[in-house]
């Protein structure tokens, strides 16, 4: 794991456009190891675009991005250290909830770092009653819980979460925020999440960055 003082994410003068529409004009931000950063802003502000740039899935039009000491690379080694939870995934039709979590463990073996084992995750994410169910039969909130559980079933240095609070009930949002604040971040993991939920960000102890008119400004705590 990287030391707490080391910067895991460094963005300077990021510029991204879709055709003639400029979404991010001049965005600069940073996140240290063990830090939680909440990126906020109105719909269409460019939060998800910023996350996809950090994940290396979108090439910016200008500026520099450094993640874990280098540019985002979209390689096997990179995905060993970075997790992206964006849109709901497509589930394997023949696999149960528990098997999806085990699959994530298997693809990321050998596990070397902080993570929760499948049994713990199923309990923590209140999926015990549906552990042998097919994800397609779950409610949208339960599927979101499963997505997030899979993200924490493997060790990582950086969690990129796109509106993790989506479809979650208020009680579980607080539990999730506490888990990130009390367990994931203290182990050295960094979280950059796009969210609209101010309370969720506050409970997680996140530093808040507001994206407005293509630029990022830090919000007072």
């Amino acid at each position: 794991m990287v030391s707490v003082s080391e910067l895991v994410v460094e963005v300077h003068g990021l510029r991204v456009s879709y055709g003639s529409v400029v979404v991010l004009e001049d965005v600069s931000l940073s996140a240290a190891a063990g830090e939680i950063v909440a990126v906020m802003g109105v719909n269409g502000a460019g939060k998800s675009t910023l996350l996809s740039c950090l994940a290396g899935l979108r090439r910016p039009g200008g500026g520099t991005i450094r993640v874990l000491g280098g540019p985002p690379r979209d390689t096997a080694d990179y995905w060993r250290r970075v997790v992206l939870v964006a849109d709901l995934p497509t589930w394997y039709p023949g696999l149960t909830v528990r098997e999806h979590i085990e699959l994530v463990r298997m693809t990321n073996a050998p596990a070397d770092g902080w993570c929760l084992d499948p049994a713990e995750l199923i309990d923590a994410f209140a999926l015990a009653g549906r552990a042998d169910a097919i994800p397609l039969t779950l409610s949208s909130g339960q599927r979101q819980r499963l997505s997030l559980a899979c993200a924490l079933a493997r060790p990582s240095d950086l969690l990129l979460l796109d509106e993790p609070e989506q479809s979650l009930d208020a009680g579980f949002r607080k539990q999730l925020a506490s888990l990130l604040r009390d367990s994931y971040a203290p182990s050295g993991g960094t979280v950059v999440m796009a969210t609209h939920d101010l309370e969720f960000a506050e409970v997680a102890g996140a530093r808040r960055i507001l994206i407005e008119d293509g630029c990022a400004t830090e919000e007072p705590a």
Binding site: G19, S20, S52, A55, G56, L57, R58, D74, T75, A76, D77, W79, R80, L84, P89, T90, W91, Y92, P93, G94, L95, T96, E99, H100, E102, L103, V104, M106, T107, N108, A109, P110, A111, D112, G113, W114, C115, L116, D117, E120, D123, A124, L152, P155, Q175, S178, L179, D182, S183, Y184, S187
Partner: protein, 560 residues
């Protein structure tokens, strides 16, 4: 909430094969998958066998007295088929994973090459197989014109043709794989190029039927080809294919995840729709693909005219707004209208291509289905509303007035298409009319087409409002030879409705052909008059009105 643990598990770095074994092991009903795949392969072998019998017989007979245009036409059609297959491959990726694999294995520590190797292998296998078939077909078309070709060495020629075709196809799909990571820059030009090649090949094929100069040039070019020259071409093709395959394999290592993710999701939807023969869903996917990424200038909705002022709550205005969406959509896709106008020549082509008493029936069938297809171009929004009536409810449109407002565009499209098609048939001299009225035949037949439009609109509206195919649904009509599924019955009924709606037109066309060939002289071919046109207009208008009055409210009961 739990605090978790710091895992220190000393296991090997995962291999894709191990992970895939896990996902496959858990899958239920595997024997059924194998049975379905085996049955599909068996059917494909039977059809391909039948398909290849004729060309192989032609080659083994050693016939040399073929018409000069056949070689050129055949080769052009093989080129068109190859371009069409490559277009299809490109529209699906061509390199994709299953949507679930893309979600769970793509952005993981698994090596990208290990993950994609199997997909590339399948792509090469399918490409080589299709290429080999096209190579054999090309030989079947060109072989009789090649002096050096002898049935005694048929095996050698077939092998060379198959290997050359397969190798060129592998090189071509690898080229598409190289272009895949650049969806905005490289794919559109490649798509345009392939379409131009396909179109040019079709034009050459059609031209060869009438313009013997081109056909003779091709035949002269084929005549001196030697076996050694073909061997050299095969060797070059194999070298190119191997180089392309190696380069593609090397490219897999850093194949971008975002492109694969999007292409895999798209290909997954298309495969699912194709597997269930869900034409509606395929239509939606094509429609979505067309509009995605396009920047349109928003325009105001049509303003209410002073003479349209009605008491508050009158439903016609929202219904009109809803119907206007299809007009606007079509206005933004002028290419569709051009394609429809161009396709109006189809009945005339069919009439020219076929001979004997079948001509009238075939042309009438093309008119029926072509008219329904034209009318369906004005039903896209209605099709969506049937699946999800949210927009209609949001606008506040009442179901039946909405359906009434939506009849205008399909009726107009069908009428326009039929008028053009019948006018062309009459202009080509295929259809005649009574000269007593002094009205030119094309005008008379075109008027009959205009009168028949609403009849086909009813059919197209009913088809658009039919629920998507559910291949797993039970029940249907017991025919004695098996159960006919209800979705098929519903669609057949819609076609029959269209046939009833334009019956005077169909009868007129068949009768006109009969009159032309002396089978039934004195029939409608010599008696197409204002009376027939009025009968057709009344019938089609009555049928459309009856359909609108009796159809269940749109959105409330999909599937009629």
């Amino acid at each position: 909430m739990t605090t978790g643990t710091t895992a220190r598990v000393a296991s090997a770095v995962p291999r894709t094969a191990t992970v895939r074994k896990f996902t496959r092991r858990q899958r239920q009903g595997r024997w059924l998958d194998w049975y379905a795949a085996g049955f599909g392969v068996l059917l494909a072998c039977i059809y391909l066998g039948n398909f290849l019998v004729q060309p192989l017989r032609r080659l083994s007979s050693g016939a040399r007295d073929l018409p000069v245009g056949q070689g050129e036409t055949g080769l052009a059609l093989v080129v068109a088929a190859a371009a069409g297959l490559l277009l299809l491959a490109q529209s699906l990726g061509p390199l994709t994973l299953s949507p679930a694999d893309a979600s769970w294995l793509l952005m993981s520590p698994l090596r990208r090459r290990g993950l994609l190797g199997r997909s590339l292998g399948v792509l090469h296998g399918v490409g080589a197989f299709a290429g080999a078939l096209l190579g054999i077909l090309a030989l079947a078309m060109a072989g009789p014109y090649v002096r050096a070709f002898t049935p005694a060495r048929l095996g050698e020629w077939l092998l060379l043709a198959a290997v050359t075709g397969g190798a060129l196809a592998v090189a071509a799909v690898d080229a598409l794989v190289f272009l895949q990571p650049y969806p905005r820059r490289a794919r559109p030009p490649a798509r345009v190029l392939l379409r131009v090649i396909a179109l040019a090949a079709v034009v050459v094929a059609v031209a060869g039927e009438h313009w013997t100069g081109l056909a003779r040039t091709v035949a002269r070019g084929l005549a001196p080809v030697s076996l050694a020259a073909v061997q050299a071409v095969t060797a070059v093709a194999v070298v190119v294919a191997v180089a392309a395959a190696v380069a593609a394999w090397a490219r897999l290592r850093s194949f971008p995840a975002d492109v694969l993710w999007a292409d895999s999701a798209h290909a997954g939807r298309v495969r699912l729709a194709a597997a269930f023969l869900n034409v509606q869903l395929l239509g939606w996917i094509a429609e979505d693909n067309y509009w995605r990424g396009r920047v349109l200038a928003s325009r105001p909705w049509p303003a209410r005219k002073p003479w349209q002022v009605r008491p508050p709550g009158t439903p016609m205005f929202p219904a009109f707004l809803l119907a206007w969406s299809d007009w606007r959509r079509l206005g933004r896709r002028p290419g569709t209208l051009l394609a429809l106008a161009a396709s109006a020549v189809a009945p005339a082509l069919v009439a020219g291509a076929l001979t004997g008493s079948a001509r009238g029936v075939a042309s009438a069938a093309v008119l029926l289905f072509g008219g329904i297809a034209a009318a369906s171009q004005g039903c896209a929004a209605l099709r969506r509303d049937t699946n999800d009536a949210t927009l209609r409810r949001m606008i506040g449109a009442v179901p039946r007035p909405s359906l009434t407002a939506r009849t205008a565009l399909p009726a107009l499209l069908a009428a326009g298409w039929l008028a053009l098609a019948l006018g062309l048939l009459a202009s080509a001299g295929v259809l005649h009319a009574s000269g007593a009225s002094g009205v030119p035949a094309p005008l008379l037949w075109a008027t009959l087409g205009l009168a028949a439009g609403p009849g086909l609109a009813a059919s197209a509206l009913r088809l658009a409002r039919t629920a998507p195919i559910d291949a797993t649904a039970l029940g249907g009509l017991d025919t004695g030879a098996g159960t006919m599924p209800s979705w098929l019955i519903s669609r057949i009924f819609s076609i029959v409705l269209g046939l009833v709606g334009i019956f005077p037109l169909v009868a007129g066309v068949i009768s006109a052909f009969g009159g032309l060939h002396g089978a039934r002289p004195g029939s409608l071919s010599h008696g197409l008059s204002g009376g027939t046109i009025i009968v057709q207009a009344v019938l089609s208008a009555a049928l459309l009105s009856l359909y609108v009055l009796t159809a269940s409210p749109p959105g409330s009961a999909p599937g009629e």
